[in-house]
């Protein structure tokens, strides 16, 4: 129950943020987002499916982007080269961003803990840019994308095994409220 409550808060915040600049955002998205949780498909180690109706199945929703399109790609150790699977996810992100042209995005690059702090900031930036360059190459305007690197500072998994490291070496496309003006 505790987990669910947390997810509700997270998605509500996202929906609110989006809503403030998107007047046509449907109010009932709140309900649906809450029902489906905030985890992306790739991150669904908890194993909760999202077969429900509504928000996550509404292809214009943030939840849909996170869960069905996939908001992140992962990398090999010390690499910033996109994998085959990564490119497929980014093709989906391109289609989504092209359709939902009001959104901008910040691409967050991350590294696992095996590495020195400053090198990992640089490595995360490389990863975020690999994603940015791919999206731009597929036609997403550069003006809609920004990149940031957190290096090894923001792990989502906390064990010190490859199973955790593999999820932490990631670039996450975080949707932001619509283009100004």
């Amino acid at each position: 129950m505790k987990m669910i409550t947390k997810a509700v808060l997270l998605t509500s915040a996202l929906a609110l943020a989006a809503c403030s600049n998107k007047s046509d955002f449907e109010g009932d998205d709140f309900v649906d987002l809450n029902a489906n949780g905030a985890n992306s498909g790739l991150d669904a180690g908890a194993g909760t499916g999202f077969e429900g109706t509504g928000g996550a199945n509404d292809p214009t929703s943030v939840a849909f982007f996170q869960q069905s399109v996939g908001d992140r790609v992962v990398f090999e150790v010390d690499q910033s080269t996109l994998t085959e699977q990564g490119r497929l996810i980014l093709d989906g992100q391109t289609r989504w961003l092209t359709t939902n042209s009001d959104y901008t995005a910040i691409i967050e690059g991350h590294a696992d803990e095996q590495g020195t702090r400053e090198y990992n900031v640089a490595l995360g930036e490389r990863r975020a840019n690999a994603v940015r360059d791919y999206l731009v190459g597929k036609g997403v305007p550069t003006s809609r994308l920004r990149v940031v690197s957190y290096g090894k500072e923001r792990p989502i998994e906390i064990c010190s095994d490859e199973g955790c490291y593999a999820k932490n070496r990631r670039a996450v496309t975080v949707l932001a409220a619509g283009l100004s003006g």
Partner: protein
């Protein structure tokens, strides 16, 4: 703790009052061969006024802690004492100290008047029955009593080892709280031994890798205050800060001062490429020093300001290079097996400290500036980010433990590889930067 920083406004006046004694033969040569610590005694200082009573023991304890903490000295337990020192000027009973094998004796006296505190001390070579150097007196405030104890210990250390001292120094670092996936970080400053912790920032924004200026008055650091990593410079006295590098669309990090404090060398990451830049801190004008498509970061000046050591993965993995202060073709100096990063030039100019990753382990090590005589000082799951004591004999670094409950702590180690020990801290701590000796 409040954000307000109380940097001791401590005027220290050094007054030689017995300038006659000559150096005795008592001497520790700090070499890799030194393994047996020198036994010494430091009885409670003599309180020369009632108000000084509370400081008489405390001052002696800090002096003992400083000296014994080097691993070069060992305190003779007080229970073994035959003589007590009840008067600073009474003749020393050398036979009594010889009998308990105290090779060095440190005596002191303290006087307190209002908020003013003065400390005087003498060092004796017990076995040759002579004072070492001249007695000295330090005057300051009661609030700054620990600094005066460090000053006394610095003098004792310098006289016996012939080395520059380092006890009256501070460390700026990142204080950490919370689990790995919800870690909160803020800048903090403390005495070199972990005492007098003061926070310089709140923990609402991620901060990384603070670096002291050459005079210890300012700190460079990286903050995510804007959502993107940017370099800030913070005045330690006023705790006022300003953004230094805020080029739109790029990230800046890994700053360090030049030895004259006028220039900052740092990295900018943009378009998937990280290079090294430098900036005149007053005019804000900057120039680019490297232009390879690889990652160039973690720059550190040589003490004379003529060269910069940095890390680059241009060869395919992190390695250490040296270039001129104006850029130009760098020369690779690390050739061992593994990855080398975070190089820091020693204040003596002779060594480069670094982090090495090899076979899944992390090491702090040192090598000569031409890359020879590599020596690994530590090994653990994750050691990184060395910083030099002002005298170039000791290195402090971050050690992080493994697993879901992993946390970071500060450790120090001699450049001989001996005397590895944790620095006491509340909560987690990382990214230390050691100040120069305080004036």
């Amino acid at each position: 703790m409040t954000l307000k920083v109380l940097i001791a406004v401590l005027a220290i006046f050094v007054l030689p009052f017995a300038a006659l004694a000559q150096n005795g033969p008592l001497r520790i040569e700090i070499t890799e061969g030194v393994v047996e610590p020198m036994p010494f005694a430091a009885p409670n200082f003599v309180a020369e006024s009632t108000a000084a009573n509370e400081f008489a023991e405390r001052l002696a304890r800090v002096v003992v802690s400083d000296l014994a903490g080097t691993g070069l000295f060992r305190e003779v337990p007080r229970s073994a004492y035959i003589s007590q020192v009840t008067s600073f000027d009474a003749p020393v009973q050398y036979a009594d100290w010889k009998a308990i094998n105290a090779q060095a004796l440190v005596t002191g006296a303290v006087n307190v008047s209002g908020s003013n505190l003065s400390v005087k001390f003498r060092v004796y070579d017990v076995f040759s029955g002579a004072e070492m150097g001249s007695g000295l007196q330090f005057a300051g405030t009661t609030q700054g009593w620990r600094r005066m104890a460090h000053k006394v210990a610095d003098q004792v250390y310098a006289r016996i080892t012939g080395e520059q001292p380092y006890f009256d120094s501070r460390v700026v670092y990142v204080s950490e709280q919370g689990p790995k996936d919800k870690r909160r970080k803020r800048l903090a400053i403390m005495d070199y031994d972990g005492a007098n912790v003061q926070f310089l920032t709140g923990s609402e924004h991620l901060v990384l890798a603070p670096r002291f200026s050459p005079t210890g008055d300012r700190v460079l650091y990286t903050s995510y205050e804007t959502g993107f990593p940017r370099i800030y410079v913070l005045d330690v006295g006023s705790v006022q800060r300003r953004v230094l590098e805020s080029q739109e669309g790029s990230m800046s990090f890994a700053p360090r001062f030049s030895p004259d404090g006028n220039t900052v060398v740092y990295s900018i990451a943009s378009g998937g490429n990280t290079d090294i830049y430098r900036m005149d801190i007053r005019s804000g004008s900057s120039s680019r020093l490297t232009s390879a498509p690889s990652i160039e970061t973690a720059p550190s000046y040589s003490p004379d300001g003529s060269r910069i050591v940095f890390e680059s993965d241009r060869s395919g993995s992190q390695q250490i290079y040296i270039m001129g202060a104006n850029g130009g073709e760098p020369k690779r100096i690390s050739f061992g097996k593994g990855r080398y990063g975070t190089p820091v030039w020693s204040p003596r100019g002779d060594l480069i400290a670094f982090t090495k990753q090899s076979k899944g382990r992390f090491h702090i090590g040192v090598m000569r500036t031409d890359g020879t005589e590599e020596r690994l000082l530590t090994a653990s799951f994750l050691d990184e980010g060395p910083t030099w004591a002002p005298n170039g004999r000791v290195i402090m670094f971050t050690r992080e433990t493994q697993g879901a409950t992993g946390r970071a702590a500060l450790y120090s180690v001699d450049i001989s590889g001996r005397n590895l020990k944790p620095i006491p801290a509340e909560g987690g701590a990382s990214d230390p930067s050691w100040s120069p000796i305080q004036r």
